[in-house]
């Protein structure tokens, strides 16, 4: 099973990295950029095949280790 986890900073939290990218895009002539946010993408390849139990497991992983719920939000995408 393959899983993709998208982790972004929560909206209320300043993302200097995104801002910097926005600035440098503007200075390169990409003017109509309204906002940029940068997050993490974690791709996990599992030995097991997709099952409800495995999905629960992944969720637990996200909650326990992969993300910090105070500052981050995440989305899990099960690929196959």
């Amino acid at each position: 099973m393959k899983v993709k986890i998208e982790v972004m900073l929560r909206d209320a939290i300043l993302d200097p990295q995104g801002n910097t990218i926005k600035k440098s895009l503007a200075s390169l002539g990409f003017k109509n950029v309204k906002s940029v946010r940068q997050g993490k993408l974690i791709e996990i390849d599992l030995n097991s095949s997709s099952s409800t139990k495995e999905k629960k497991n992944i969720e637990k992983m996200c909650e326990d280790v992969l993300t910090n719920s105070l500052t981050e939000k995440y989305k899990i995408k099960f690929l196959k």
Binding site: I13, L14, P16, D64, L70, T71
Partner: protein, 229 residues
């Protein structure tokens, strides 16, 4: 007085803290490997600075799951004093032993320099030797030191006197200009509600010897020694 310093893979201020404590107290602390689960009682356990697990994923995140951390949590509940400095602070927030979180510096760069701190609460085990509002010159060295917490938490921290150190200038002015990393309210160090767990980004061990350019950290360690004995 029994002090231990936890060594995580990637810790790199473990020796520095040990050196400072040995110089000031004459006694060398023990090192505890992060896989340790059974160890004798200590009055104080220090989580040192460095890059535990390379700071991969999030600073302190993987370290906060080290086998030793369960035991440290238990001991902190029993009153053992715990200090996290720099990466140690990050481990403490990641393991929820302290509220909030430490994010990437606003300028996105590692910052190593001496800054000024104001002692906002000197009625703690860790700061009693300082005067209230004393201004101290102390080094920082981190990439992720931007303290963040929710509004509610901030209120609690304030009203409970849990904010111990704030970034300021040499006159003690706490303005955003003197905030090296973008921390909320210039917060540099906090304590838990119970008063036995402290986390701070600056490095007192790096200013506890005249020849290294200052001795402002000595009172920090003296405060603790006094609290323990």
């Amino acid at each position: 007085m029994k002090i231990a310093i936890v060594v995580f893979p990637g810790s790199n201020c473990d020796r520095d803290i040990s050196w400072a404590i040995k110089n000031i107290s004459g006694k060398k602390p023990d090192y505890l490997w992060h896989k340790e689960k059974n160890f004798t009682n200590y009055d104080l356990i220090i989580l040192p600075g460095g890059f535990s697990y390379g700071d991969y994923l999030r600073c302190g995140a993987i370290g906060s799951h080290s086998p030793i951390m369960n035991e440290i949590k238990k001991r902190s509940q029993k009153g053992t004093k715990i200090i996290g400095i720099c990466n140690g602070f990050q481990i403490l927030t990641e393991s929820k032993m302290l509220p909030g979180s430490l994010l990437k510096n606003e300028n996105l760069k590692f910052i190593c320099k001496k800054i000024f701190l104001k002692v906002k609460n000197n009625n703690t085990f860790f700061s009693k030797k300082y005067k209230l509002n004393e201004i101290i010159n102390i080094p920082i060295a981190h990439m992720e030191g931007r303290y963040y917490c929710s509004k509610e938490t901030l209120k609690e921290l304030e009203s409970n006197g849990q904010i111990i150190f704030q970034y300021c200038n040499d006159n003690g002015s706490i303005k955003n200009n003197y905030n090296p990393n973008g921390s909320i309210m210039n917060i540099a160090g906090i304590i838990n509600l119970k008063g036995n767990v402290l986390g701070m980004m600056p490095h007192p061990e790096r200013c506890s010897e005249e020849i290294l350019g200052g001795e402002n950290g000595i009172k920090f360690f003296r405060s603790i020694f006094e609290s323990i004995n």
